[in-house]
Subunit: 400 residues, 2 copies
Amino acid sequence: MKNIIVGQSGGPTSVMNASLCGVIKEAQESKFEKIFGMINGIEGFLQDNVVELQNFSDEELEILKTTPSAYLGSCRYKLPNDYNDEIYKLIFKKLSEKNIGYVLYIGGNDSMDTINKLSRYADMIMSKVRFIGIPKTIDNDLLCTDHTPGFGSAAKFVATATRDIIMDAECYKSKSVTIVEIMGRHTGWLTASSIIARGEHDANPALIYLPEIEFDAFEFIQSVKHELEKKDNVVVCVSEGIKDKNDKFICEYAVKTNKDIFGHTNLTGSSKYLEELIKEKLGVKVRSIELNVLQRSSALTLALADVCDAENVGREGVKVAIDGYNGYMISIERDENDNISYETVNVSKVCNKEKKFPLEWIKDKNDIAEDFIKYITPIIKGSVDIVRDDFGMPKYIRRG
Amino acid sequence: MKNIIVGQSGGPTSVMNASLCGVIKEAQESKFEKIFGMINGIEGFLQDNVVELQNFSDEELEILKTTPSAYLGSCRYKLPNDYNDEIYKLIFKKLSEKNIGYVLYIGGNDSMDTINKLSRYADMIMSKVRFIGIPKTIDNDLLCTDHTPGFGSAAKFVATATRDIIMDAECYKSKSVTIVEIMGRHTGWLTASSIIARGEHDANPALIYLPEIEFDAFEFIQSVKHELEKKDNVVVCVSEGIKDKNDKFICEYAVKTNKDIFGHTNLTGSSKYLEELIKEKLGVKVRSIELNVLQRSSALTLALADVCDAENVGREGVKVAIDGYNGYMISIERDENDNISYETVNVSKVCNKEKKFPLEWIKDKNDIAEDFIKYITPIIKGSVDIVRDDFGMPKYIRRG
């Protein structure tokens, strides 16, 4: 039997190691002799930077499952569109040298592009190496899947942190505005999750702004002013990627931006800009808070359902690879009773595309409908008993 | 028997409600007929904004104990230095109207100023009302106590979040610098706690800068450069209150600052300034992260020892008030075997003063000595089983 290799790619999540754990477990049970791991994804693989994972113990796997970020290290590496590029030959040469027949890649829509290209190249050269994508993104923006592993735990962090910020903001009597900036470059799934922080007793977060709706600064100021008439402390949640009618990111008004190799604009600073705007227009006490990378790398807000999904898509990936599938991603299907099953979807339908937050789940341009809460509840529910260290802090496993 | 009243004041912590819980429990057991709570501290009390707390159930108290921020609401209110001011007469008139004989105030060094003044005024007018301070601050900067309730859990948040940020930062191969900005206006206790995030496998956080040491931008750049030669991803922790040799806050180079009513400068932005500085001088990928208010309002990083301390100082406060103490704060004493006891200290020794981080616990200007780890370990250890809601998120209790 051929060997198997797994890599991690793109932005970290809290459960992408749960997927790795699923891959290793299933591969161990399937009696693979060698289970390789790419260090820093395909980029490291090209430099022969690989480790062997077959000897992971059950105890180590248990800690790995709740260790955030990418145990193997990640990369942002785009394969060339030209299949005549030498890099393809090189990759298949290296796969052959290690007698690898199965490649699993845990990542988001950019990483699925890698799987798409490699699986097509394999077909072109009539190679029998199988390429399977394991979905992973906090953004929940992959097509053809009910939700993505990583989203549930990140959403739970957003909801928990927003509630904690509300608790903090509401402790003073004096009028204040707090702006919480949440990840989500072009889609509002994570920002919408802040609605879960809205309890019975209060109406914060009072306003929620997603990138799917054109942002109007004048309307924003009016809405904040209106909320300040109703309550002392107003908490507003905004996506880092909100844009105005000129298709310009709000953060671009505040800071110089730069682009990563995929051409994405690095977006933070929307909340800082809005902080200054409110200070100027309303003269009220205001602060801005970026939730930042903790959204995607916290073990304390893991959602049980999310960890299970992540492990299961990893396991399923190994199964379908053995079954001979090539160029597919594992998807999560949900029936009307919220029962989950794992299916396969042609990766070409997923890669380089984004699933927007449904417009019908956005109320009055700055609020979230009940239907979204119904959608997200099974995804974020359940807490996870994590292994802890001597300080009572989450225990993580790291490469030596 | 006279009635008792309790208030909360100053910046929130994750355990100031555990102290409130301790006060309520002890007062219930001491058979007070009325246990009053000031809404928004002495400021609300002056507006007759009080609630009754004697009917809190055990179940509600259990949730209250792990609910962050101030259940009663907080304030930042400084009593006048002039004891002839009408406000003192007014306060004692209102206390008399409600037949209150005991006043407990949960707060930091500014709040202890309130207790100091009211207890002195009580002595001056030969009132029998007893005033007791319950220590509370994430900053750990109160004199005459081994540590302060609130510090342990905030320190644990800092250590946990810093470790999560390290996990995230180290997942890419490309060179990067991450600057984490931690609370602590004039003292470095919280920032020093980030040392707990330094594991066996790595040396991040590589550099730690406290306000107790004069910050030198040139040396800083040299140190970061040196660390980048040793590792791909360098994580640096800085206090929001670092100052240069001209006694100017680093953040003042970055942003306009404003002062609160105690004359404190509102300090954030040190990390943002250092981010720009590194970008300019070293041309490496760099990002800054403010840990922000979650440091002081998270239930998920509660330290068991801290919650116990907080509840116990609340209970002890009720006991010593009944015993007739006036103008005292409850302090925490530790013996050579790390056994804890609760004592009283004259509040005039505590108020308006700050306990600095010991210079002998700072190594090479930007690192923390082992002695501090020995000091902090018993303070942050132990995790707390919190009550959770249907989503598996921390369940909080709020005023109706």
